[in-house]
Structure formats: C-alpha cells, structure tokens
C-alpha cells in the first residue's frame, strides 16, 4: 500500500534526471553551433570537430592521457589486487593497522594534498617530472580503489573451492591462478576500468606532478575552460560523452546478457 507511486515520485525523478542530463545536452548542441558566441545560433556546422582534429596540442595531450591511464591502471590493478588479498586473507602480519590505514587514506585525502605531497616527493628524489611521475602519482591513488573493489569480491568468496583444490594436491600458487583469479576476475577488471577512468579524469594531481612538455587532456581542457568558453572544447566533450555512453551502455547490456544463461 505504502509503495504506491505518487506524483511526487514522478516529479522527483523527472527533475532529477533533467538536472543531470540537460547541461550535457546543451553542451552537445552548442558543439554544432557555427558561431563562436554562445547567444548567437550561427547555424549547424561541424567546423569545431574539424578544428579539433587539426589541433596538434590536444591530440598529443590525448595520447599522453591514454598512455598514462593505461600504464597506471595496469600497475594499480597489480598492487591493488595484492593489497586486497593481503587485507582479506592475511589477518596477522607486521604493521597491519598501518597498512590498512594507508590503503584507505588516499581515498579521503584531498587531491590538492595528494598532488602537493607527491610533487614534493618527486622533487626530493630529483625525479625528472613528466609522463612517468604522473603515471606513478595516478597509480598511488587508484590502487586503493582497485583494492576496495577486489576486496568486496574476496569477502564474498566461496573458499571451499580453493580448499578442495588444495586437498586434491594442487599447489597454492597454481590454486591461485586456476581457481582464485578466474573467480575474482570480474572485480579485477572492474577495478582496472575504475582506475583507468579515474586517471583519465584527473586534473589536479596531474597538474602538480607533471613537468614541462608533458600535458594531459584534462590539463588542456582545464586551461582552456579557465579562459572561458571554447566551442572546440564543446566538440571534444561531446566526443568523450559519446565514447563513455557507448562503453557504459554496451557493458551493461553485455553483463545483462551474461546473467541470462546463469538463471
């Protein structure tokens, strides 16, 4: 009885989703505006997309961002998965409270603090700042997210399968690669994707730890946005929105399809 759908619920969802999606829609519509001015509709045009394609600076920044995201997500997935295993499977080892604290702390650390501290660290060891310092900086904060995602899967893990394998004489390392890893693989992949997205999205930490000559896409967007509107950025944003929407919708359709045979 109380679960009756009311007008209030419809209003809440309508306004909520309108609030979430209208600004993005406006962004996309204006990327096709021929005029540089926002309050003038100069007719439909794809000139900003052409200009985008010829912008060497943005294309280099995009390549840097993708490279950094790929490397940092890969390293973060490795260390994050190990950290999750350590948190769930190793109840006692030296410094465990410190370890647990360090796994969770970067998630509540303000980005400006993480960026500043990592920069000071790189300066103190005289590391040349650029691609690799950004990659390492991104790894150090995204691995914590991987750890949390993988950990939630490990907690719900049916350990009898591992025990059965070991009872049948399977060595521990082989048990891990043939039983444990395939079972936690979806969460490892989810962790990787999360790390990849977070790295691709970061502007604050990257602007602290990067050096001259290495710019990332978010840094370029941020610098242009600071100076106000730029139709080119609208075009770029629209492309990013398109890629993300296709990726998210496809993955959710795939996971739904994957669920059906299981039923």
């Amino acid at each position: 009885m109380t679960r009756r759908w009311t007008l209030f619920d419809t209003t809440a969802l309508t306004f909520g989703f309108a609030f979430l999606y209208l600004p993005l829609l406006v962004l996309v519509v204006y990327s096709f505006n021929d005029s540089r001015l926002l309050n003038v509709w100069g007719g439909f045009s794809t000139r900003w997309y052409v200009e985008l394609w010829n912008d060497k600076v943005l294309l280099t920044a995009l390549r840097n961002s993708l490279g950094i995201a790929l490397f940092s997500a890969a390293i973060a997935t490795f260390f994050g998965t190990l950290a999750a295993l350590a948190l769930v499977r190793y109840t006692r080892f030296w410094g465990r409270p410190l370890f647990t604290g360090m796994v969770y702390a970067p998630m509540v650390m303000p980005e400006v603090v993480t960026g500043l501290s990592l920069l000071l660290f790189f300066v103190s060891i005289n590391a040349e700042r650029g691609f690799w310092t950004v990659t390492l900086a991104h790894t150090s904060f995204t691995m914590c997210y991987v750890a949390v995602v993988v950990q939630s899967r490990l907690v719900a893990f049916d350990r009898t399968l591992e025990e059965a394998a070991q009872d049948l004489g399977c060595p521990p390392l082989r048990t891990f690669f043939t039983i444990t890893l395939p079972l936690i693989a979806p969460s490892v992949l989810a962790g990787f994707l999360l790390a990849f997205t977070l790295s691709l999205d970061d502007v604050v930490i990257a602007s602290f730890v990067t050096g001259p000559g290495t710019s990332t896409l978010p840094i370029e967007i941020f610098n242009k946005a600071r100076r106000g509107l730029s139709p080119e950025i609208n075009a770029l944003s629209s492309l990013i929105l398109l890629v993300v929407t296709v990726a998210v919708v496809t993955s959710s359709l795939l996971s739904k399809r994957a669920l059906i045979p299981a039923r």
Partner: protein, 325 residues
Amino acid sequence: MSHIPASDSPPDSPSTQIVASAKAGPGTRLVRALVPALPFIWLLIFFLTPFIIVFKMSLSEPATAQPPYVPVIDWSEGLNGLLDALSQFNFENFTLLTDDWLYAASALSSLRIAAISTILLLLVGFPMAYAMAKAPEKHKPLLLMMVILPFWTSFLIRVYAWIGILKPEGLLNMVLQGIGVIDQPLQILNTDTAIFIGVVYSYLPFMVLPLYATLDKLDWTLLEAAQDLGCPPWRAFWQVTVPLALPGIAAGALLCFIPIVGEYVIPELLGGPDSLMIGKTLSDEFFRNRDWPLASAVAVVLLIIVIGPVMIFRELETRRLEKSR
C-alpha cells in the same frame, strides 16, 4: 577526482585466516610473504614518505631558490642532522596561518560551502533515491544506469557545461529574459551560487547511490504497519523511513562532504575572486606565490579538517555495528 562507492571495513573473522599448507616449500613461502609486502612497500614509498615530506616542508622556511624552500633536515648528516633539525623547527608558517585572516577564512568558508552543499545534495538526492527504490523492479537497472552514467563521464566536462549556462549572456539568462522574469541578466557565474550548483551537479550520483542502496533494502511492511496504526504519512516518513535510511544518509553525506571541502576545480572554474575555498588557497599559494612551505602548512590544516568527520563517521559506524550485534 577521488570518489568511491561506499566500502566495507576489512573483515577480521577467524574463518578468513590463511590455512598454512604443510607442504609449502621455501618458494611458496616467499610468494606468500610478497602478497602483503609488495603493496606495503609501494604505499610506504608513495604514500607515507610524501606525506612525511609535506609535514616536514610545512615547518621549513621559504626561499627564493629552485626548489623554493630551505630544507629543514639535512639528510646527509644522518641522526645528528635530524636532531639538529628538531631543535630548530620553524612554526612560522603556522603562526602565519593563524595571523592572516585569509587562511582561517578560507578554511571556514570551505566548511560552510561543503555543509550547505551536502544539505542541498540530500534535498535533491533523497527524493530521487526514494522514487528509484519504489520504482518497479524491471525499471530499476535502467534508472540506476542513468544515475551512474554521468559518474563515468569526465568531471571536468560536467563542470565546464555549467559555464555556458550560467554566464551573463548564457542560456539561463537568455531563457529567463525571454520569458520576461528578469530585465537584467543575473550575475550567477563567478559567485558562490555557481559553486553550489556545480557541486550539487557533480556530486549528485555520490549522494543518490548510497541512499538508493539503503532504501532499496527498506522493509516497506514497517511503513504499512505504521499507517495501519493510524500514523500519518509524513510522520511515518520521519519516524520510520529516515531512521532506517540513516546509514545511507551518513555514507552519502560523508562521500560528498569530504571531497567538497578540498575541492579545487569547481571554485576555480565557477567561483569568483571572493569565493574562498581552502583547496584553491593551497594551489594559489603553490602555483602563484610559489610559497611551498606555506602551501604545505595549508595542506596539513586541510588534512586535519578532513580527518575530523572521518573519525566521527567511523565512531558512529562502530557504535551502530555494536548495537546490531
């Protein structure tokens, strides 16, 4: 951006203890030791060490050199250098922080903006999460995806989208003037109002998702019981729904409040010169004034501000878990 879905604390139940295999050779034992050791070493190098350096730096003196500070500890002198350093620590940066109203004001202003934004997020997010939890089962995956989708799109782009809408010659003013509500364009961009709009917009998924997770598991028969016993709907809402949704409210509020306090991108793009936020102050100190020690001192203050709510939340969580046992 560093945001996360709510997480569980690591379990410590005895059943998860590693079962030592009698046959384990030295190689296996090494691998087994490496599992916690590798991430541990990584975190010690890339989390703890930088953290200690910031702390140390906040006690150094600024200098017009590259890098622009005088190191307090001379590492080459070993223990003597360390002891020497301890005797001459320089708290000047922190006295400077308390003397200059700008820092106290920006800290307070950040807390105020984060608190108001969190309340606004609750007001917008709760009805949405509530309606989603009540929606028919078959629509839930779609609704959920529609909330998550903006989360995967770039944070920067979502903030950028609002510049075009809030500008004096932007879309909002165009519409409002068009329908005759206002004569003169409203100055919204570069004010605190723009920051609130940007923050609420960017963080809405982080509020809706934990709220939905709790409300979806709500036992609706309790509400029916309240109504059967003659309780008016709004009272049932306050006395049944809200207390039951409290864990979700706390998680959502924390998930939003903490990153908002240290927010830098939103005040930089949407805020004005008068909008003070501590994350922006830190960056300005660092990038514009090149005062690394002072920026570090601001970082230490910001950390202290953030740790407070986390501790309170952990305390509440432990109490709640103890009660439910």
